[in-house]
Amino acid sequence: MDLESLYQEIILDHYKHPRGRVLLEEPTAESHQVNPTCGDEVTVQVALDIDGHLMVGYEGQGCSISQASASVMSEMVTGVTPSDADTVRRAFVELMHSKGAVEPDEDILGDGVAFVGVAKYPARIKCALLPWMALQDAEAKAGIGIDQQKGSS
């Protein structure tokens, strides 16, 4: 059944055992995003460490897809440069809008490839994207981004 492509083992594992699900002690900025149609919520916080690598904290409540997506995101973008985080985020957004037609790249997306089945369920795409939208918004508020990195390099 199609449900097994939606709820892949990796997604269920992240849902039941979320990675990195803590808030930062000193976030530079945070973003609270809600899905007003269902009430899913996620708060994502960001800061840079002394090497210019991303630190990400989050908490939230919602369906398995939104919460597993936050867990995968935390795993993929913590400790990388804002530029590399942006590459992952763009690949994930593209995957979600692909209607299942894009072959996801595990080298870029890691466990994020498991969300390929979500793209076939239009009502769930917003769930999967919620934490990534929060990440983008938090980075913008913190002034973290590719432009800033280019400026400093």
Binding site: M1, L12, G39, D40, Q61, C63, S64
Partner: protein, 426 residues
């Protein structure tokens, strides 16, 4: 005794119920509180109107214009008759949300006008700081947000009647909540999320006792039980056509004639005027005063056909059918471990919207499993977010039935819930 509904026969009247979804599963439609499905008689009526009589109404001197006007106004009379009202007291709007906004804007428009020309408005619609508006904690956003906005524009204070753990209105402090400062009491007849049927007569009596206008959101009651709008004791009653087998795009607002006559218009422009000069205009009497622009003629014709269909079934029979199904759904859900109904558990003063939560499972995931079995339900906060907060749940899954549902539909939904619990290991 009322005759039980012949669901097998009724189902044949609904073309959409013959289709399959998700890998050829028969459609089990349990989302009628969101919108009902439409019988062929409604679809035929709309089509026949367009095929034979379509024209602008209340204008033109040709035969089609006459026929279209007759179709529109006789539909109004039929729909009004369904709720025991006179045609001239029934206003067509785009949906129930617009109906409630029409009522709320009567106050903000009158308040704005009063600042310049106090004599031109009925003082009952003029609000000022110190006034209060009373709603309940189980309102649909459509009967909450317009009143919040009205308070923000006028300085009035919003109050609300809280809820008991059992899903009923907490009427303990009602006399201090609805007091001499209260100008509007706007309450839902039957909750779209909890299923609770509220004691409207009692609330409207209290509103009248303090001189407040009483408004009722009847979206979930008019489709499911016999309702006589005048006997509710309200000044204004709002509901929609698409939840009662009719087309989308048509909302209803009934008002006591004396109240409608003193309400300023909401949307202005063509069709709602009496005379127009460059300096000023005067307005038509209700209901036309509230129907600016080209109206929803084919939709009105369709809703009149829906009303005829429901009258043929008999609203007593509809109510009895749903009461029985609701009792069955509550019994089945109560037997499931890890499932908790949000709303009254006793099938008394209770409608057919049954919300529940499953321990360890988000409603979105429950809904996905039900969808996989062909079962359409609503998941989320049902446009009643504060109600969800009251019961400390982010969202619920909601089953809601209508004339075309039977116990088999409930059984398939229960199977889906069990499958979801098994899959997620909760």
């Amino acid at each position: 005794m009322v005759q039980p509904l012949d669901v097998a026969r009724i189902r044949k009247d609904f073309p959409i119920l013959q289709r399959t979804v998700r890998d050829d599963r028969p459609l089990v439609y349990l989302d009628s509180a969101a919108t009902s499905q439409k019988p062929i008689a409604v679809l035929d009526a709309e089509r026949a109107f367009y095929e034979t009589s379509n024209a602008g109404v209340h204008r033109g001197a040709h035969q089609l214009a006459e026929e279209a006007t007759e179709a529109y106004e006789s539909s109004r009379a039929a729909i009004a008759g369904f709720v025991g009202a006179a045609a001239e007291d029934l206003v067509f709007t785009k949906n129930a949300t617009e109906s409630l906004n029409l009522a709320a804007y009567a106050f903000s428009n009158a308040t704005a006008k009063a600042a310049f020309a106090a004599d031109s408005v009925d003082p009952r619609f003029v609000l000022r700081p110190g006034d209060s508006i009373v709603v309940t904690q189980m309102e649909h956003h459509a009967n909450l947000v317009p009143w919040q906005e009205l308070c923000a524009k006028t300085g009035a204070t919003l109050r609300w009647i809280g809820l008991t753990d059992e899903g009923r209105l907490d009427l303990g402090g009602i006399d201090s909540l609805i007091d001499d400062t209260t100008r509007v009491v706007s309450v839902v007849h039957q909750s779209n999320i909890l299923g609770t049927i509220n004691p409207i007569a009692e609330l409207m009596d209290r509103a009248r006792a303090v001189g407040a206008l009483g408004i009722v959101d009847a979206c979930q009651s008019v489709p499911h039980m016999p309702v006589d709008v005048a006997s509710l004791g309200a000044d204004v009653v709002a509901w929609s056509g698409h939840k009662m087998l009719g087309p989308t795009g048509l909302g209803l607002l009934w008002g006591r004639p004396e109240v409608l006559a003193s309400m300023p218009p909401f949307i202005t422009g063509g069709s709602m005027i009496e005379t127009v000069f460059m300096e000023h205009s005067t307005y038509a009497a209700p209901p036309k005063r509230f129907e600016a622009g080209t109206p929803m003629v084919a939709q009105a014709v369709g809703l009149a056909a829906a009303v005829a269909y429901l009258q043929d079934l008999g609203m007593d029979a509809v109510e009895a059918h749903e009461h029985e199904l609701t009792g069955y759904a509550l019994d089945q859900l109560e037997q499931l471990p890890g499932v908790r109904v949000i709303g009254p558990l006793d099938n008394v003063d209770r409608g057919s919207a049954v919300s529940f939560v499953v321990d360890g499972l988000h409603p979105h995931d429950v809904g996905q499993f039900l969808d996989d079995k062909g079962v359409a339900v609503r998941v989320g906060h049902h446009c009643a977010w504060p109600t969800c907060r009251r019961y400390s749940v982010p969202a619920t899954t909601r089953l809601s039935t209508y004339v075309y549902n039977d116990r088999d539909d409930i059984d398939i939904a229960i199977e889906g819930i069990v499958a979801a619990q098994k899959f997620f290991g909760v």
